[in-house]
């Protein structure tokens, strides 16, 4: 009898320890990054680091602003492309598609999620970059803001990074949204259709309204995948630490900065801590967006609960 109780207690405590430890990992990582980044924080002010736009480590200039903007812009472009496309395909798969089509298409989409980032990167270099360098002069001369081309575009651009990222994010948003949509009780559709609503009206006013928080969660998951992606983006984005003014400009995301320089620059003291500061900034940016997304999600749920 006693051993049974003991087992129960031990199991409970162990699981508590595991849970506490894993939730503390975030803090541990943040503290470790902070400690390693401290040498540069001692020398430079935070404002100078975050808002400076010159990156010349050997001349003592560490401005992270282009990198922060690079990360945000590339992710934004990816989401602008990915969100409408994936939600429309999820709606089609959940609401319109025949069972036969759905069972064939969904596994293919899930397969996309399993392809390693490097493969996406290589594909981006071979397929996306040349197409962009081809269309850039055509679109660039139309004079649309954010779509201009200064001089020439090699194709290695924010747009290329955004497209590759968007494709990497598709499977996440599509498969989660599809499941969320299918989880909406059938009664809702029947009720709406019996009132004379068309299929599209039913989807728009009944199904999506209910599935809203779930779809928002899917988008947030896709976003966090996109913002942290390194290899695929690094291979197509051009890696120039400038403040980009057009989608055809090169950008330099934080993840690429770390990956490009970490192994090589370890023996140079301030460079090392600058890179770890980049990691810390990236973590804080992601933390900020995750918390913001959570708050939005809570608000949506609350609003829905109140009708």
């Amino acid at each position: 009898m006693f051993s049974r109780k003991l087992k129960d207690i031990i199991a409970g405590r162990l699981m508590l320890a595991a849970a506490v430890l894993s939730s503390m990992l975030v803090i541990i990582i943040a503290v470790a990054l902070y400690l390693r980044a401290k040498p540069i924080l001692d020398v430079k002010s935070i404002a100078e680091l975050l808002l400076g736009s010159t990156w010349m480590p050997f001349q003592g200039e560490f401005g992270f602003f282009p990198f922060i903007l690079g990360t945000l812009y590339v992710t934004l472009i990816a989401m602008v492309i990915a969100v409408p496309l994936s939600i429309l395909s999820a709606i089609y798969l959940a609401e319109y598609a025949h069972e036969n089509v759905r069972t064939k298409v969904l596994p293919v989409i899930d397969l996309l999620a399993g392809i390693p980032p490097v493969v996406y990167g290589v594909w981006g270099v071979l397929a996306v970059v040349p197409v962009i360098s081809y269309i850039a002069p055509v679109i660039g001369n139309l004079g649309i803001p954010f779509l201009t081309v200064k001089g020439y575009s090699t194709g290695y651009s924010m747009l290329a990074g955004g497209i590759v990222l968007a494709i990497m994010v598709f499977p996440i948003i599509i498969s989660i949204s599809e499941q969320v949509l299918r989880a909406v009780p059938f009664d809702m559709r029947e009720a709406s259709l019996s009132l004379g609503a068309t299929r599209w009206q039913t989807i728009k006013h009944a199904v999506i309204r209910i599935a809203y928080p779930g779809i928002a969660a899917a988008i947030i998951l896709g976003f966090s995948r996109a913002i942290g992606e390194t290899m695929a983006v690094l291979m197509v984005v051009g890696n120039v630490p400038n403040i980009p003014s057009s989608v055809f400009d090169s950008a330099y995301p934080l993840t690429a900065l770390i990956a490009n320089n970490y192994g090589e620059m370890m023996s140079i003291p301030l460079y090392d801590s600058a890179l770890l500061l980049a990691a810390l900034i990236l973590m804080l940016v992601i933390l900020f967006f995750t918390v913001a997304a959570r708050l939005i999600l809570i608000r949506i749920e609350r609003r829905m609960a109140h009708g």
Partner: protein, 338 residues
């Protein structure tokens, strides 16, 4: 109550253990086996008569990786009981690992910083390599470029100042309006560092679209008729045929600035490049010596290995795509390990 206390202690200990991993531990000494194995063998003269045994670990520059792997294979053929373990990861990692005692030999494809020597780095030059500027073979001005070569000051204006933006300006023919599509390496490495050094600056000063890795830059130039990049010589030229990779041409350096590529400045094939480097016509940098770095003067097995690479090992350089050090330089390096 007691149990709660235990859990708290457990968590603190685990957290402490995790945190301790984050602190810089260059002080930690990981004793490598070969050192022990070899120090127990008697004086160096008798090592030769005895069968060599143990493991040699190397890490570092990508540029030296293929050569080290080949040397490792050949050395193992001679001494079956020796295991040579080679890892790539960048010159900086090789240097840090060697100084920290994590590996026996660090591979470094750039110049050694004086501060690194102070920390105990002991560099031994083992081979030579070069970085060459590359263009697309379909460049409309390719004929012209290959005939006249490009001066160092022009490269500086293209890569550092950004004042030259068209191929016409680079050739002194303003009627040619084709823009130069400039490519550079995005990753920190020996090749971009040596290229920047040739131009008198650091990698961070190089302009151009950053592409990842040597093959990346090569592919970008191969696809872009107006592209200009730079590559390790053994990437730009096919080591079997001795000619540039299809779709690529190597720009000769106009060293004496007479506006024409003299026969000894010609680097259009592998043989001519090697000859130009050996003669010293090829500028240095971007030709560079690649180093094996040990912590302090190497002893025992690793010294044996390095000595072998400087003697018999040199004959494998050519087929893998590296260039022999000059005779005097080889002797000088050999003295460092005697």
């Amino acid at each position: 109550m007691n149990r709660k206390f235990l859990v708290i202690i457990l968590i603190t200990v685990l957290t402490g253990a995790l945190l301790s991993g984050c602190v810089d531990n260059t002080e930690t000494k990981i004793q490598s086996t070969p050192d022990n194995a070899v120090t127990s063998t008697p004086a160096q003269t008798s090592v030769k008569s005895q069968e060599l045994e143990g493991t040699i670990t190397l890490s570092g520059a990508w540029a030296l990786y293929p050569m080290a792997v080949r040397w490792g294979e050949e050395f193992t053929k001679l001494h079956p009981k020796v295991k040579v373990d080679v890892q790539a990861g960048g010159a900086g990692k090789g240097m840090a690992d060697a100084i920290g005692g994590l590996v026996d030999i660090g591979m470094v494809s750039r110049d050694i910083d004086p501060s690194e020597i102070e920390k105990g780095a002991y560099p031994i030059g083992v081979t030579k390599d070069a970085v060459v500027p590359t263009i697309n073979a379909k460049n409309p001005s390719a004929q012209e470029i290959l005939k006249t070569g490009i001066k160092k000051s022009t490269f500086v204006k293209i890569y550092i100042n950004g004042t030259i933006k068209t191929w016409g300006e680079a050739l002194g023919k303003p009627e040619i309006k084709d823009e130069i599509h400039l490519y550079t390496r995005s990753d920190a490495a020996g090749a971009p560092e040596i290229w920047a050094k040739y131009l008198g600056k650091k990698q961070e000063n190089l302009k151009g679209t950053g592409v990842y890795g040597d093959p990346g830059v090569l592919a970008a130039v191969q696809k872009d008729p107006l592209g200009l990049g730079y590559n390790n010589y053994n990437y730009a030229l096919d080591m079997k045929t001795g000619l540039p990779i299809p779709g690529i041409q190597v720009i000769p350096f106009d060293v004496n600035e007479n506006g024409i590529v003299d026969p000894d400045e010609d680097i259009s094939t592998k043989e001519k490049t090697i000859a130009a480097i050996k003669k010293g016509v090829f500028p240095h940098p971007p030709a560079r010596v690649e180093y094996f770095v040990t912590k302090g003067k190497p002893t025992g097995l690793k010294a044996e290995f390095i000595r072998w690479t400087l003697k018999d090992g040199q004959k494998f350089l050519d087929e893998v795509g590296y260039i022999e050090l000059s005779k005097e330089k080889l002797d000088e390096e050999l003295k460092k390990v005697e």
